[in-house]
């Protein structure tokens, strides 16, 4: 037996079998073009010369027993920092289907990923594969015989939602007749492109999204809006007529707000809304984080910072000590900046304390909505522990808040928007309508739109998820032009449009059999069922099996 000391082994030594993704390389097919190694975002592939012993039996003692063959092969780096992320870029570029990653559920990497003393960080999503709770909610109050069925293809459907503070009807009539201020309300498509910042996304991705959104609004008549995330908005957008499709976010770092405030006099139209981010479902308790890899010249200019530095936003807004204060200061000053003509609302992480925030907003006449981001939300950069285990699932959080509003008769006044895992397994309309029937006025979706519109490779099995380090293989979350030019904004725009068209059709396909066509079925919980008694009880919906 060989002594242990002669094997290069230390606690963090890993073999390919210990990694979450293993490369399967078929040398018989490989043409040694080297494209895979060139494209690999984490440099895990080694294209190297290797030597192979060719044993042979020789009878003549003057000859050596074996000969050696030299060959070129591809190997997987097993360093923790350069492990394969399973993105599949190698197989995408391989001309000969010779290489590709395979998921390894029994990896040991997870125990060693803390090498260097840092806690594990990544971008992307929560690693929880399998059907989500929202995937299991079905729609089963079908109008049969008592009702001529609606035809999703022929009848007209109204499915837009409202974003903004809605007055009680008595107060509306009174104010309208006496010419007083009526809070701004936007009629929008209930599927909002959730806040992803201009720094997190590449310029091409952002441009593609905006182009798609503009097309949906101006050509298809689907009033889609998108939220910026923290970090501002390119000046040409601020001064363009497209600003009305954009929800500008202000967060604890206030990045980008110099540019925004300065652009106000030149704005051609008002933004769709202002979102004040207090928390995010993927990483409650953390502010935004743009890592230095992604702070390019353009981003630095937009945010008013030097190039190439980490940009962590504080966990809380430094000027705030309480929700009362935050409501008073932030919501009112943002409202005032746009002359009380733009809805201003907070975004919080899903939490058992969401109801207290909501009740505070109910009492503030300027608060326009509440956006709750559940634990399944995505992010550009976060700690694993935050992504996986910190936060509150969205369904029961939204339901509790909605029922609380119902008790006070205020459910029409403060719309609740829900996010966090909407469409995580592709069932975006099912998930969103379940949330809407539980009481949400609409949903925000980030990861889904990245997957659908730009082909993001991330999965709940921790595939890819390197959005934080600027090497996004699809060019979605990179600020490196060499990488993001892979992504053609026109293609993204095309996919955005296709995605929203299909969402609109599916929404009708659910509403029609429920006998609904006149308004979005917010709070229509009698239509929902789930084959899980506990979940049904918790959500006050029907248990079906």
């Amino acid at each position: 037996m060989v002594s242990i000391r002669s094997i290069a082994s230390h606690p963090s030594s890993l073999s390919p079998n210990d990694l979450p993704w293993k490369i399967v390389h078929r040398e018989d097919r490989c043409t040694l073009c080297g494209k895979c190694a060139a494209v690999c975002p984490v440099n895990t592939l080694k294209l190297t010369y290797m030597r192979k012993r060719m044993p042979k039996i020789v009878l003549n003692s003057t000859e050596r027993g074996s000969s050696y063959k030299t060959f070129v092969g591809i190997r997987q780096n097993t360093d923790v920092g350069r492990r394969c992320i399973g993105c599949g870029s190698c197989s995408m570029v391989c001309p000969n289907e010779a290489i590709g990653p395979v998921h390894n559920a029994s990896d040991r990497y997870r125990f060693q990923a803390t090498a260097g003393g840092g806690a594990i960080t990544r971008g992307g999503r929560r690693n929880e594969p399998g059907a989500s709770l929202l995937d299991r909610i079905i729609f089963n109050r079908i109008s049969m015989l008592t009702d001529p069925a609606l035809d999703a293809g022929r009848h007209e459907f109204t499915y837009n939602t409202l974003l903004g503070r809605v007055l009680p009807p008595e107060e509306y009539v009174r104010r309208k007749l006496s010419g007083e201020w009526i809070p701004p309300v936007r009629e929008i498509f209930p599927f909002v492109i959730g806040s992803m910042s201009f720094g997190a996304l590449s310029p091409n991705m952002w441009l593609g999204l905006l182009q798609g959104v503009a097309y949906c609004n101006e050509v298809l008549g689907i009033p889609v809006v998108m939220a910026t995330g923290e970090g501002g908005c390119p000046p040409w957008v601020l001064k363009s007529p497209f600003l009305k499709y954009i929800i500008l976010q202000i967060a604890s770092g206030y990045f980008g707000w110099d540019e925004i405030i300065r652009a106000i006099p030149e704005m051609q139209c008002d933004p769709a809304a202002i979102e004040i981010k207090y928390g995010q479902g993927a990483k409650p308790g953390d502010g935004g984080l743009l890592m230095w890899f992604k702070v390019s010249k353009l981003i630095a200019r937009l945010r008013g910072v030097p190039e190439g530095v980490d940009l962590p936003s504080p966990p809380v807004h430094q000027t705030l000590y309480s929700i009362e204060e935050s409501v008073m200061k932030m919501i009112q000053s943002m409202s005032m900046a746009w002359n009380f003509k733009v809805p201003v609302y907070p975004k919080i992480s899903g939490s058992t304390s969401a109801k207290s925030v909501l009740n505070n907003l109910v009492r503030n006449p300027y608060a326009s909505a509440l956006m709750i981001d559940g634990i399944d939300g995505g992010t550009g950069a976060a700690y694993d522990i935050s992504l996986n285990a910190t936060g509150h699932p969205i369904a029961s959080n939204v339901r509790d808040c909605y029922l609380d509003l119902c008790k006070q008769g205020k459910q029409n006044e403060i719309p609740i928007f829900a996010a966090g895992g909407v469409g995580k397994n592709g069932n975006v309309v099912q998930n969103a309508l379940a949330l809407i029937m539980l009481g949400a006025s609409g949903v925000h979706m980030g990861k889904f739109i990245m997957q659908s519109a730009a082909g993001c490779l991330g999965s709940e099995q921790n595939r890819c998820n390197v959005c934080n380090i600027g090497v996004c293989p699809k060019g979605i979350t990179s600020q490196n032009p060499k990488i993001y030019r892979r992504l053609d904004p026109d293609d993204v725009a095309q996919r955005v449009v296709e995605t929203f068209q299909s969402i609109a059709t599916e929404v009708k396909k659910v509403m029609a059999p429920l006998g609904r066509s006149q308004s979005l079925p917010i709070g229509m919980s009698d239509a929902l069922g789930i084959a899980d008694k506990d979940a049904a009880d918790r959500l006050s919906i029907r248990y079906v099996c």
Binding site: T146, L177, Q411
Partner: protein, 380 residues
């Protein structure tokens, strides 16, 4: 599907004639129940005093009747008239009907100082108290309405037979407005409270259809904290409550009802003379938007009657008549049976945008389109 029949005439007529109108449409309902609303009452054996509240309901047991009497007495109501129906018990399916109530009371003297609205509120609260008392005692007391000049009858069974069983063909009761609906509830259990028409503070509706947006509407109305917004054994009850809310709480003209339950689409609002107001109204009353196929017939305290359609006109309704006498029915043959000697060429089938209003003078139909200017709002 169920069938509706409504007649309104300047001269009181027998409710039985409306049941005959129902019978003409008999293929359209299952005969599981009948609901009648009579307004503008005329009794052969009693001279009704305008303004006296009339209680309609059922005391299912002698004890319930006793409790009812106690409650009414303790509140200071004086019983002026107790209508005894000539009931043929064998024709009625239900066996636990001790006494059908149709009684005229004199208001408590203590209410003399109250305004008309306050009296209305007290009457509603009294009705709710009776209802609650019945519910707390195994459902032995049912109170449909307590309101001046309004009587309601609800019973399980075939409409015409119920009319015969109650002796409605003997002309002892007549009215100037009569609503009849011929079916029990569509989606929820059979319950007398689930039977149309529905009544709240003088406002009543009956509906042919299914309201698929029932739960969110119910949740919103219940959250208003108004004591009368309760019950909801039927998905159609909300139509009456919305009509009450629009006319009595928001104090908007009757035409606004249509804009609340089936608001116009954006492009239609853009072309409407009050589009800006109506768009806002749609937003603030968004939880009151109804859905599904519905023909709603409504009755207001001043004897105005009305008909509105769902936004897609998925349910039938026919209006016909002549000055002094008008009828609405789900089918043409129903209108024929109710008012045979009219000019049929003037019959009108309301479409999705229409509200048909028959004013108290009953001289002509007001066919009001949702695209038209609203009255009053502009003046205000």
């Amino acid at each position: 599907m169920c069938r509706l029949a409504m007649k309104t005439a300047s001269k009181p007529f027998s409710p039985f004639s409306v049941l005959e109108g129902m019978e003409a449409m008999q293929e359209g309902y299952d005969g599981s129940g009948l609901g009648l609303l009579l307004r503008g009452l005329d009794f052969t054996d009693y001279k009704y005093q305008a303004g006296d509240p009339i209680l309609s309901g059922i005391a299912h047991t002698p004890e319930a009747l006793h409790r009812l009497n106690n409650i009414m007495e303790s509140k200071g109501f004086e019983l002026n008239y107790d209508h005894e129906f000539e009931v043929t018990r064998s024709m009625i399916e239900a066996k636990d009907r001790h006494k059908y109530l149709l009684r005229a009371y004199k208001k408590p003297a203590a209410w003399d100082s109250l305004s008309e609205d306050e009296v209305g509120r007290e009457l509603m609260l009294t009705r709710l108290e009776l209802r609650k008392n019945g519910e707390e005692n195994g459902g032995d007391l049912t109170a449909f309405s307590l309101w001046p000049d309004v009587a309601m009858i609800k019973e399980v069974g075939w409409p015409l037979e119920i009319g015969q069983a109650f002796g409605l063909n003997n002309d002892r009761i007549k009215s100037r407005v009569c609503f009849a609906q011929g079916r029990q509830n569509t989606n929820y259990g059979i319950n007398l409270y689930a039977c149309h028409p529905f009544f709240i503070e003088g406002v009543a509706t009956m509906t042919n259809g299914e309201n698929t947006a029932f739960v969110p509407i119910k949740d919103w109305l219940s959250g208003k904290g108004f004591p009368g917004y309760m019950g909801y054994q039927s998905d159609s009850e909300v139509f009456a409550h919305i009509l009450h809310y629009v006319t009595k709480q928001l104090k908007l003209p009757l035409q606004a009802y249509k804009h609340v339950i089936t608001p116009l689409a954006n492009k239609e609002l853009a072309a409407h003379p009050q589009g800006d107001f109506l768009r806002g109204l749609r937003d603030v009353c968004r939880r009151l938007i109804i859905d599904g196929p519905n023909a709603v017939i409504g009755s207001l305290p001043d004897e105005t009657t009305m008909v509105v359609m769902d936004a897609k006109k998925l349910r039938p309704a026919m209006v016909g008549g002549k000055p002094g006498e008008w009828a609405v029915a789900s089918e043409m043959c129903g209108v024929d049976a109710l008012i045979p000697d009219r000019d049929r060429s003037k019959d009108f089938q309301p479409m999705r945008q229409h509200t048909i209003i028959i004013p108290p003078d009953r001289q002509e139909l007001e066919i009001w389109s949702q695209f038209d200017q609203l009255p009053l709002i502009q003046a205000a």
